[in-house]
């Protein structure tokens, strides 16, 4: 129990030390809004030919006539109350829009991370077991090519092969096809909601829709994960405790999984955290390719139509998600290797 408490203390400390970063992002989004070309008041006025007086009134309402430091304080106050402004595109509160779309993005990212880990860790272990073998070279080649391939290209080529040529994948737009009625929303994760509703056909439809974008994103991150697994497995396989485990005659899978892999997993967790952040960025490209109704495509649409409140909200959301991911990585650290907590 003390190990658990120590892990929590560590995670808490890390959380506190990440607060300045989060504050930095807040300042950044504030500046983003203020240095943007164009006057926000003009956007919110009735139209392009709104009178000067009307714009002036709106400027006063929005507090744009106040000195910048005071505006910053007001902005921080607004964010603190969970008010991120209103999107001009959808006419809704940004917080509501983001809340509606976040599950779609998270479902995609988690599915991709799962696919990437499930394929990268065994690949890395296999490569490390026989360095210099055909498998090792194959994995290295795959990794070198994987990091060179832009996500948007691999996504489109997957669509070409699996939708156009083979006809295996459904029409690559959105989370469910138009013939499937969405399940009652409980978690927002379609795969979970369909299961809760007991709708297996719907689950299958959503799964088919999810698989291509998830694989696209996974392809992009398999390389770093496999490479780090291989490197840290090599170290761990060459260590004394593995030799001892082998010499006392433990079955090979036990040596590899329980002793070698368990000790090699720490760097993999670190990289997985970094990879998750990369994926949040790659979301923008993948969601655009597959018309996925997530937060990234929402922010992108807003960005291209000069609707800045959603962009601001999106950047803040990404930063918060990132802080949470770092916390989870910290906690996993403590579980994977109790020594971390002591030192």
């Amino acid at each position: 129990m003390t190990a658990f408490a120590a892990t929590m203390t560590r995670a808490g400390k890390r959380f506190l030390s990440s607060l300045p970063a989060l504050f930095g992002v807040l300042i950044f989004t504030f500046l983003l809004m203020r240095v943007l070309p164009g006057d926000p008041a003009v956007f919110f006025a009735s139209g392009p030919n709104a009178g000067k007086e009307e714009i002036e009134v709106i400027r006063k309402q929005m507090g744009l006539n106040k000195p910048v430091p005071e505006q910053l304080v007001l902005y921080l106050y607004d964010v603190g109350r969970g008010n991120l402004g209103r999107s001009m595109m959808t006419g809704q509160l940004v917080t509501k829009d983001l809340r509606d779309r976040l599950p779609a993005s998270l479902e995609l990212t988690f599915a991709a991370l799962l696919i990437a880990l499930v394929s990268a860790v065994p690949l890395g272990v296999l490569a490390a077991l026989k360095p210099g073998s055909v498998i090792d070279h194959g994995v290295r080649l795959f990794c070198s090519l994987g990091v060179c391939m832009p996500t948007f290209v691999s996504g489109l080529l997957l669509i070409y092969v699996f939708y156009y040529l083979l006809g295996l994948a459904p029409d690559p737009t959105g989370r469910v096809d138009i013939f499937t009625s969405p399940p009652p929303s409980r978690t927002g994760f379609l795969l979970i909601d369909f299961l809760l509703a007991g709708d297996i056909d719907g689950w299958w439809a959503a799964f088919r829709q999810l698989i291509l974008p998830a694989v696209t994103m996974a392809l992009f991150v398999v390389a770093p994960l496999a490479r780090i697994t291989r490197a840290s497995m090599l170290v761990s396989l060459g260590s004394d405790f593995v030799r001892t485990a082998r010499s006392v005659g433990l079955p090979w899978w036990r040596v590899i999984v329980t002793y070698a892999l368990r000790n090699a997993i720490l760097p993999v967790i670190t990289i997985a955290g970094i990879v998750f952040s990369t994926m949040l960025g790659a979301n923008v490209l993948v969601e655009k390719v597959f018309s996925w109704p997530g937060v990234a495509s929402y922010a992108l649409d807003a960005l291209l139509s000069s609707d800045y409140a959603p962009v601001q909200g999106f950047v803040l959301l990404m930063a918060s998600v990132f802080v949470i991911v770092n916390l989870v990585v910290d906690i996993l650290y403590g579980i994977a290797d109790p020594r971390v907590t002591i030192s």
């Binding site: 950044f28 990091v147 391939m149 996500t151 489109l156 070409y160 990369t278 960025g281 490209l285 999106f314």
Partner: protein, 282 residues
């Protein structure tokens, strides 16, 4: 010393012929970027609707796009813009990052911690999203793609230069320079920076590939480069509309161009690291 380095380079090349291939590839890319507009068979901008969406053939080896423009010609002409964006972005972040990093590594103390914290904030963030937001804030133009890409590359250079300078700051020759009455600035610029440059050159080559991918990604989502300018990312974006009707050449060839460019720079970076890194010498 020089002949030893050359012999070592030859030894590395024999052991890893890929480095030679990568060097040749980068040379070819540079050649295309400089002379591209003069060697293409067709005009990359003028449309010819009667020839639209033709599959690859002898006349158009990479097919034609929705406006009847030759995809191969557009790919060749695009090389200049794509490389220019990547090279200038990496160049800027290299120049700025090396100086800031070297100063921090040399001075240490409060300045070092402050910059370190700033770098942490920058790195602790989905960098592509950051670049997107910056292009939005600065205005949707090509120069701003360069600036955004340079800024998201900056933390890596600062960190790298800082670490390299920090391990050298108390070495004998640095103290000798100081004892001779050199100012701190002179020590950093004339002695420390030149010593960390080779290692940073490798970092640059590895980073170029990443910068190309980033810039192409930004133009793919509609930031920066505007049609009808030929650019690999925007070519993929325009071709994306036709992928579900099977016009694969609109995606595959620009994708291949991007992939090869990134691959060449990555392999070259790996090779040059093997040549320069003394720990690899046997």
């Amino acid at each position: 010393m020089t002949s030893a380095t050359l012999r070592h380079a030859g030894w590395i090349l024999r052991g890893n012929p890929l480095t030679g291939v990568a060097a040749a590839g980068v040379f070819l890319l540079t050649f295309i970027a400089i002379f591209g507009p003069w060697i293409v068979p067709y005009d990359p901008i003028v449309s010819n609707v009667s020839q639209a969406l033709l599959a690859p053939s002898a006349a158009h080896i990479a097919g034609t796009d929705q406006l009847g423009r030759d995809v191969f010609s557009r790919l060749i002409v695009a090389a200049r813009l794509d490389l220019a964006i990547a090279v200038s972005a990496v160049g800027i972040s290299f120049a700025v990052g090396a100086v800031i990093g070297a100063i921090c590594g040399y001075a240490g103390g409060r300045l070092d911690r402050g910059v370190g914290r700033f770098v942490d904030v920058l790195m602790a963030f989905p960098l592509f999203v950051l670049a997107m937001a910056m292009v939005a804030a600065l205005g949707n133009r090509v120069e701003n793609i360069v600036i955004a890409t340079a800024i998201i590359n900056l933390p890596f250079y600062i960190r790298f230069a800082r670490a390299e300078v920090n391990i050298r700051r108390n070495l004998g020759w640095v103290e000798a320079a100081r004892a001779c009455g050199d100012s701190h600035i002179s020590v950093v610029l004339r002695f420390l920076l030149p010593n960390v440059l080779p290692a940073m050159a490798v970092q640059m080559s590895l980073n170029l590939g990443w910068a190309i991918l980033n810039a192409a990604g930004l133009s793919f989502i509609g930031l920066g480069v505007k049609p009808p300018t030929p650019e690999w990312g925007i070519m993929v974006a325009e071709g994306a509309r036709f992928i579900s009707t099977g016009k694969w050449w609109l995606i595959a060839f620009p994708g291949l161009a991007l992939m090869l460019a990134v691959l060449f720079f990555n392999l070259l970076g790996d090779g040059v690291r093997d040549i320069l890194d003394p720990r690899m010498r046997t």
